[in-house]
């Protein structure tokens, strides 16, 4: 059964990651911290794509709305971090609703386009109201999650694990089943009596919630909110590549892909500029020759018996 196969893969990895601070230095932890937040981005995206069947080209819209809401509250009103995060993720959900309710009427490339345009709009607005948002400079925050790498790592790792468990559980739950049915064949799902739009919007909200929360936490990790970190199209592209690379509709694969991308970018830092080139080339090779991604084979094998 798939469930046990996924868990058999995930548990040892999680255990190893939990024990990691005993063995490695602060820098590697810092790296994995970012990797964990990206993993949440990618898993949230995978919930939408892999299960609800909707290609969201603008994951950074949700991430950015959550991140900037949290950042602004902290910068101007000095709200405590948990309150900023809560309101930030709520804002991401509302932003997601505003985007999804009309956009889900559209099919094919149009849904993707709306999500893409949403990101460009957000980016433009942030730059336009630079006086408030800090524009291209970004917004520096008075608060930071922690300056201790180990603490930061456990925040991020714990967050990723909980999110992963929730999203994975959700994808295997009855609701996840309905969602998959809606994603794969909307007509048939409706004929079975399911309100496809309702379920897709719910999925969008869940994706938005975790994306926004992760965006907020990332901002408090850096203690800087900048367009380049949480809004830029390039960030969204990386999220999508991570999910496809790791293996679509596996949730866990998305996390693996995200951590891989962050780690690979860093390991290749000595070759300087060519690092991005090499990582892209590698991802391209995976997509061309192993379209199932890293975990596609491992987790989705055979006729299930």
């Amino acid at each position: 059964m798939l469930q046990s196969r996924s868990l058999r893969f995930a548990l040892p990895v999680l255990l190893a990651m939990a024990l990691l601070p005993l063995g490695v230095g602060g820098y590697i932890l810092g790296l994995l911290t970012i990797g964990c937040y990206y993993a949440v981005f990618a898993m949230s995206w995978d919930l939408l794509f892999g299960f609800a069947g909707e290609v969201n080209f603008g994951p950074t819209f949700l991430i950015g709305v959550g991140a900037y809401t949290a950042a602004l509250l902290n910068h101007y009103w000095l709200w405590p971090i948990p309150a900023c995060l809560a309101v930030g993720s709520l804002a991401a959900v509302i932003g997601g609703l505003v985007l999804a309710v009309p956009a889900l009427r559209l099919t094919g490339p149009y849904f993707g386009l709306v999500t893409l345009v949403a990101v460009l709009m957000l980016q433009n607005l942030l730059v336009l109201f630079a006086g408030i948002t800090g524009g291209e400079i970004g917004l520096d925050l008075p608060d930071v999650l922690s300056i201790d790498e180990t603490t930061n790592y456990y925040y991020a790792f714990g967050f990723m694990t909980v999110t992963g468990a929730i999203l994975f559980g959700l994808s295997r739950s009855p609701v996840g089943l309905i969602l998959q049915a809606s994603g794969q064949d909307a007509v048939e799902a409706a004929a079975l009596g399911f309100n496809v739009t309702k379920h897709k919007i719910a999925a969008f909200c869940i994706s938005a919630f975790f994306s926004g929360l992760a965006g907020g936490m990332l901002v408090f990790y850096f203690s800087t909110a900048s367009v380049g970190t949480v809004v830029d199209i390039a960030v969204g592209v990386n999220v999508i590549i991570a999910a496809v690379l790791g293996g679509r509709r596996t949730i866990i694969g998305a996390a693996v892909g995200a951590i891989f991308l962050v780690a690979a970018g860093e390991l290749l830092r000595p070759i300087g500029q060519l690092a991005t080139f090499v990582v892209s080339a590698f991802a391209l090779v995976v997509i061309l020759f192993f379209p199932g991604g890293f975990l596609g084979r491992l987790l989705q094998d055979g006729g299930r018996e």
Binding site: M1, P174, V175, L177, I178, Q180, A181, Q184, G193
Partner: protein
């Protein structure tokens, strides 16, 4: 009181009236057969009931509540279930998960599976005979199992009204019996069942009543026997009278073999679309392949044209066609005029024809064009018009003319009569006759309309359930094979 009551149902697509003021009702424990040839609008009626299409007028009452225009999921919750003709199962869910899905309420907060639901799903799997394959993915299952799965979902939904689209398409005789039993059990439990199919014969044994449609309108209603005896129905399916026309004999006709199909088989996923079919066509012959919709005609032609992968062997003038692209087969002289016509809608009639003549010398193409304008004068007057603006009959003529522009050795005509009014059929028939009389072209015609298929034919094949079941002279068709054609 009727569980399902349809009245004045009308559906238009643009200017086309697909369904016109259809009305019928089904009582609890009753099975109604809704029949009609392809394009008659029967599937649209079904979609309107289910809410997949919004009707333009009319009412659809489920147990007394008018649901016309409701969204599909609400209609489903009101007690309508559908068994789709094409099994499109979810690729990543097991059989049991499919059944479980059908048992779930429309609720966002179900995070844990209820054990009662699991048990019920297993029971249903056992009832339809899927208990051994519960944990397998659909793509590993044979076709009949997928159809069972569709039924299992309908049972799980336990609807008041069950719509079943072409229940027996692609099934073997044994499987048909099995399925009839399962559908019969719906009746026994007091559901109202609507069976949608092409012909009466297929469903006659199962239905209580039959409602026949043609070109969007009701043509007959009654018991299966009554409908089969109905003159209009006979005309629609068989034509008025089966007759054969005199044809000029040519020297050596049919002697030189052109096309030879041996033991061809085609699978669409798990479904057998063509099973061990062998036919041959000689030079100058006019061969008709007669069969109901879904019998495999189009699949056979597509295999010949190189559009689908097949097993067995197809040879053209003694050379195998295996490995050749569809384009090169067409250039080699086998030109198909498909059922779907495949015109270039945004290009003019003339441009469509010119594309057909692109492989010819300019002068030769011009000559061919003149000749075709003689054959189909209407096309000449419509030269500058966009193909999409032509009427159905004109489009069909254009499709045939475009294929003829290629100067084919063998012209494959697939269902040229599809959805055409009788008066157009006559024109088309005349054109084919002219073609046959004045040229030595070889034609392979696929038709469900026997009236149209027989008069021109030198030889007839009958294709049923993916197999050739009869071959012979059109003169013998009526007595030997004709009865099956209602």
């Amino acid at each position: 009181m009727a569980l399902l009551k349809v009245a004045g149902l009308t559906k238009r697509f643009g200017g086309l009236v697909a369904v016109k003021e259809i009305g019928f009702s089904i009582a609890p424990g009753e099975i109604l057969g809704l029949i009609g040839p392809n394009g008659s609008g029967k599937s649209t009626v079904m979609k309107c009931i289910m809410g997949i299409e919004r009707p333009n007028a009319g009412s659809v009452e489920i147990d007394g509540i008018d649901v016309a225009g409701w969204p599909t999921h609400k209609i489903a919750r009101q007690g309508v279930g559908i068994v789709f003709q094409h099994s499109r199962p979810l690729q990543r869910q097991t059989v049991l998960e499919h059944i479980k899905l059908a048992l779930l309420p429309d609720n966002l907060l179900m995070l844990f599976t209820d054990h009662a639901v699991m048990r019920r799903a297993e029971e249903i799997a056992a009832r339809v005979g899927l208990d051994r394959v519960m944990h397998r993915l659909p793509r590993t299952l044979p076709f009949a199992h997928l159809r069972r799965l569709e039924l299992a979902k309908a049972i799980a939904r336990n609807p008041k009204v069950v719509l079943v689209d072409e229940p027996f398409a692609g099934l073997t005789a044994g499987e048909v019996a099995d399925f009839s039993n399962l559908i019969g059990s719906f009746r026994a439990e007091g559901h109202a069942v609507l069976l949608v199919d092409h012909n009466v014969k297929g469903v006659a044994a199962l239905v209580d009543r039959v409602f026949a449609m043609y070109l969007g309108e009701r043509v007959a209603e009654g018991t299966a026997d009554e409908v089969m005896r109905n003159e209009t129905v006979r005309a629609v399916y068989l034509g008025g009278k089966i007759e054969t026309a005199a044809r000029p004999e040519r020297k050596g006709k049919g002697r030189t073999p052109l096309l030879e199909v041996r033991n061809a088989g085609v699978l669409y996923g798990k479904a057998t679309a063509l099973d061990d079919v062998s036919i041959h066509v000689g030079e100058g012959e006019f061969v008709s392949v007669v069969g109901l919709n879904g019998a495999g005609k189009t699949t056979l032609f597509n295999a010949i044209s190189g559009l689908v992968p097949y097993s067995g062997a197809i040879s053209w003038r003694g050379e195998s066609l295996a490995g050749r692209t569809a384009g090169s087969i067409a250039r080699g002289g086998i030109v198909q005029c498909p059922e779907s016509r495949e015109l270039f809608g945004d290009m003019t009639v003339r441009e469509n024809l010119d594309l057909g003549g692109q492989h010819l010398e300019v002068a030769e193409a011009a000559k061919q064009l003149d000749w075709l304008f003689g054959l189909f004068p209407i096309l000449q007057s419509r030269q500058g018009q966009n193909a999409r603006t032509l009427s159905g009959g004109e489009q069909q003529m254009l499709a045939i003319a475009r294929a003829l522009m290629m100067k084919p050795k063998l012209l494959i005509l697939d269902e040229p009569t599809l959805g055409l009014a009788p008066v157009i059929l006559e024109q088309l028939s005349k054109a084919l006759e002219t073609l046959r009389q004045t040229t030595d072209i070889t034609v392979l015609l696929g038709e469900q309309n026997v009236t149209f298929a027989l008069p021109h034919a030198d030889r007839v094949y009958v294709l049923e359930h993916s197999r050739i079941v009869w071959e012979g002279d059109p003169g013998r068709f009526a007595e030997e094979a004709g009865t099956g054609y209602l």
